[in-house]
């Protein structure tokens, strides 16, 4: 990884963290409502995934703010969406869980656990059919690996040798339920083994995630069929703002935070790329400003007009 990319990843991670902290603050202030799922602790994973898979199509879950902005969507438009404003990426109609932007090949923002996986399979079929170079990546949580949609997708993607990267974000919990209580395995790659090549990576290590996913991406682009990558990581917050998350004890959280992806990346910037404190601080400040701007923009943005209620029911008047 060259220095520029390392800086870029670090910047996006910090941007992501600050974005999430701002979202949290504005949720508590009542500017944002509904379910808000924060990605704090997982930024290294989210950012590295987007950088490694910069060109293909991405399908993901409701925990997608950091991915969306790292993918290139304007933080202003994403924050405005969280605020439910008309300047939001989905004109305030989708909300935090439903960020869509085809111009960045970003298709959700799906709030049905596992629901996006068959969609990604279909998209991968389209890519193969059209003989396009780039494949598709689908991101989902450990909780999704117990559902039928996931399994049907493993089977179909494998039978059809589709250019699809299954990326499992294994943070060990589905809301309050520890994965090992409802799955026979701690690592869900086990489930994909009969169907495709699987890889595991430390999801708290952005560089490792980046390297692993690039390898996986090359494999799918080269026609090897689907690949499954599992990233082991931690979310720091509760599942969503309505979950205090007290099913995890202090010790567990402490171990998690010792693996903090931002600190780790920072250390690398220092040690490997020889960035100074000041340089790092400048990146952080730039990120903070971008988030402040996003909040300011979102606050000032207008709400949708009531007439919009009836827009986009169909592609045109029928």
């Amino acid at each position: 990884m060259n220095k520029m990319l390392a800086e870029e990843i670090y910047y996006d991670m910090v941007l992501g963290r600050f974005f999430e902290l701002a979202a949290k603050e504005h949720y508590m202030a009542g500017d944002i409502a509904g379910f808000l799922h924060l990605d704090i602790g997982q930024e290294g994973f989210s950012v590295a995934a987007m950088k490694a898979f910069a060109k293909g199509d991405v399908f993901t879950t409701y925990r997608e703010h950091v991915m969306a902005i790292s993918r290139g969507m304007d933080p202003k438009a994403v924050m405005a969406e969280l605020f439910g404003k008309v300047s939001g990426v989905s004109r305030g109609r989708g909300g935090s869980m439903h960020l869509f932007d085809p111009s960045h090949f970003f298709y959700g923002g799906d709030a049905i656990v596992g629901g996006q996986i068959p969609n990604a399979v279909g998209c991968a079929y389209a890519r193969k059919y059209k003989e396009q170079q780039d494949g598709v990546m689908v991101v989902f949580g450990d909780g999704a690996t117990n559902g039928g949609a996931f399994f049907e997708s493993l089977n179909i993607a494998s039978a059809q040798k589709l250019p699809l990267l299954f990326l499992c974000e294994n943070n060990g919990y589905a809301i309050g339920t520890k994965i090992t209580r409802v799955s026979p395995f701690e690592k869900q790659a086990k489930k994909a083994e009969p169907y495709m090549l699987t890889m595991e990576v430390d999801g708290m290590d952005a560089v490792a995630v980046y390297e692993t996913l690039r390898e996986a991406r090359h494999l799918i682009e080269d026609g090897h069929g689907p690949v499954f990558v599992e990233a082991m990581l931690c979310r720091y917050e509760g599942h969503s703002m309505s979950d205090p998350g007290n099913y995890r004890n202090k010790e567990e959280m402490k171990i998690c935070k010792e693996r903090d992806p931002i600190e780790r990346m920072e250390k690398m910037l220092h040690e490997t790329y020889l960035l100074s404190e000041e340089e790092i601080d400048a990146l952080r400040q730039r990120a903070q400003r971008a988030v402040d701007d996003a909040v300011e923009f979102a606050s000032a943005a207008p709400e949708p007009e009531l007439e919009e209620l009836y827009d986009n029911i169909f592609s045109k008047d029928v």
Partner: protein, 325 residues
């Protein structure tokens, strides 16, 4: 030409016009479709465009959604509507919603087609009708094809249009004969006046249209009145205009559907008539629908569970007498 041949032709022509049109479903390719709707297409367009899928309905629709996102125009076949229940999440939470919730950024040019209804003793898990459920989902266009001409035009329209369409066929109509009219443009959203009349408006769709038509001559004779028979064709959106002008003329409405009465689609039409046309109604509306039971296997019970031409006749005659129609 048969109804299934008309459907086949619609798909064939759409595939010819646009190489992004693909068909997917169980046994749609090499086997030619369990009701032979896709027969012969695989040899013309290849297995990449006639995709035999595993038995995984959730994926059939879910993949179609993804194909549409990826720039294709998928036509998904569900063997019968009963199995579509497995795909309801993808139909309702994804196919129907993505366009709206993305504020129009995602467009899903796709069709999900399937037969439904009571055929001949296919029993509890193969005889259902779910138009009431699917028509109640904002974002879905729902067409129901009762004849050859509509089947052809509406399906071709559905495949080439940019919206998600649920296309309902009926198990007993596949061998129905008819002609395709290529000279007149057909608006698939418009209800079809199957027979003009001035005293009673009978609204129906799918196979019940034929059963109504079978009952009508005797009804007209015995009541001494004339019936206007309307085939809804588009179940969502509904062509209320056509219904309204008929009802203004007749002042009496009968709705005939095959599905269970409780919560059935027809309630929608009668409730509209009561709300919007109340002061034009000269008689209590009448709903003729199936019994509120799971469909039984035994033929007598099966027939007793759905309206038949005889029942339609008897019910309308009794209603006519009671309400002075």
């Amino acid at each position: 030409m048969l109804y299934r041949e008309a459907l086949n032709r619609a798909i064939d022509e759409a595939m010819e016009i646009d190489s992004d049109v693909v068909v997917l479903g169980e046994d749609v390719g090499l086997y030619g479709g369990s009701y032979r709707v896709t027969e012969g297409l695989v040899s013309k367009y290849g297995e990449e465009r006639l995709i035999d899928t595993p038995i995984a309905e959730l994926s059939i629709v879910g993949n179609a959604v993804g194909m549409a996102i990826g720039g294709l125009r998928p036509v998904a076949e569900i063997m019968t509507v009963n199995f579509a229940l497995l795909a309801f999440d993808q139909i309702i939470n994804h196919m129907a919603k993505y366009h709206y919730m993305s504020a129009g950024k995602i467009t899903l040019p796709m069709v999900v087609r399937f037969p439904q209804g009571v055929s001949r003793q296919l029993a509890a898990q193969h005889s259902e009708s779910y138009e009431q459920m699917l028509s109640a989902v904002p974002g879905l266009i729902v067409f129901a094809a009762s004849d050859v001409n509509y089947a052809y035009h509406a399906l071709k329209y559905a495949i080439l249009s940019d919206d998600p369409v649920i296309f309902i066929e009926h198990e007993l109509l596949y061998n129905k004969k008819g002609e395709i009219d290529l000279n007149t443009e057909l608006d698939p959203f418009k209800a079809r006046i199957v027979k003009k009349g001035k005293d009673i408006t009978i609204v129906s769709y799918l196979k019940m249209v034929d059963d109504v038509m079978e009952a009508v001559p005797e009804i007209e004779k015995q009541l001494g009145k004339s019936c206007e028979v309307i085939d809804l064709c588009s179940l969502n959106p509904i062509d209320f205009k056509t219904l309204e002008s008929s009802l203004k003329k007749t002042g009496a409405i009968v709705v005939v559907e095959e599905d269970h009465k409780m919560g059935g689609y027809g309630a929608q039409i009668v409730s509209w008539a009561a709300e919007e046309m109340f002061y034009s109604l000269d008689a209590a509306p009448l709903r003729i629908a199936g019994a509120d039971v799971t469909i039984p296997y035994n033929r007598r019970l099966e027939l007793a569970s759905i309206p038949t031409p005889e029942e339609i006749k008897a019910r309308i005659l009794a209603w006519g007498a009671e309400n002075g129609v």
